[in-house]
């Protein structure tokens, strides 16, 4: 008897759906913990500089503008320079950096790949000055002395 070893496989392939992703028409969600476009929350940042320190490609630029009641800090995340390692988000104690699941980072203008946030870091309120006066001297006629 002649055997046709691949007939079944061929028939199932003819009638099954193609394995191609229908990408631009059907958007696919990125997997869990995907490290995509950076989102910065300037309201939580305290300008500690830890993210700049751990970023190996130097993708984070901080500009500080002196103002009357504090510093105007602008953090810029250059996503065209980033390796998406998530070190900045892991080291940020205030959770102000977030790597979202948005993977569609395509731009014809490089400015579209910069995520920036500005916030005002207020000057610390000066503490009450300690008075110059010496504390009162202990009493001499203390019985225990």
């Amino acid at each position: 008897m002649i055997r046709f070893p691949y007939v079944r496989e061929a028939l199932t392939q003819v009638f099954s759906k193609p394995s191609t992703e229908k990408y631009p028409f059907v958007k696919k969600e990125a997997p869990e913990n995907y490290r995509g476009r950076i989102k910065f929350h300037p309201d939580r940042c305290i300008n500690c500089g830890m993210c700049i320190r751990v970023c190996s490609p130097g993708a984070i630029v901080r500009t500080v503008e002196k103002q009357e009641d504090g510093d105007l800090v602008t953090m810029e995340f250059h996503m065209d320079s980033c390796t998406f390692c998530q070190m900045c988000a892991d080291f940020c104690t205030k959770n102000s950096i977030e790597l979202t699941k948005d993977y569609e980072m395509v731009a014809s203008d490089p400015k579209d790949l910069i995520e920036s946030g500005t916030f005002l870091k207020k000057k610390p309120v000066p503490k009450k000055p300690i008075s110059d006066e010496l504390p009162p001297a202990p009493k001499v006629d203390d019985p225990e002395m």
Binding site: A30, G36, G58, S81, C82, T83, E104, M105, V106, P110
Partner: protein, 149 residues
Amino acid sequence: MFKKLIDNSTAKSPWIYHINAGSCNGCDIELVAVLTPRYDAERFGFKLAGTPRHADIVVVSGPVTSQSKERLIRTLEQVPEPRVIVSLGSCPRSCNVFKGSYSVEGPLDKFCHVDISVAGCAPKPEAIVLGLAQAAQLLKQKREEAAQK
């Protein structure tokens, strides 16, 4: 009549040429994945060309190392106008972690104008498909502008 037919067909099928200018191979693998049946950029007519002289879209990956700089310039010169240059990943845009290295001469926009940049390290294949689609649109625009002149 034939010219119109040729114009229509070339608009529907832009050919890609891929230059690796010292990339780590991450982006290159993703670009190849885009051309496989899973993501299938060939649905939209993209085809990998064997020579820069046949290409419409040039995809560059890598931070442009000293070794590859000469070749990159020579290859880009051979691509006929109108062309669209797509930078793949962070490296050609900014040299990424290699910036400041003695053997890196990038970024790419020192040597040519970059039309579309796809960010990511490495970019997700979906993002590359999107980038190529935008590049094809830009190419169509450039062709129309060139025809009007």
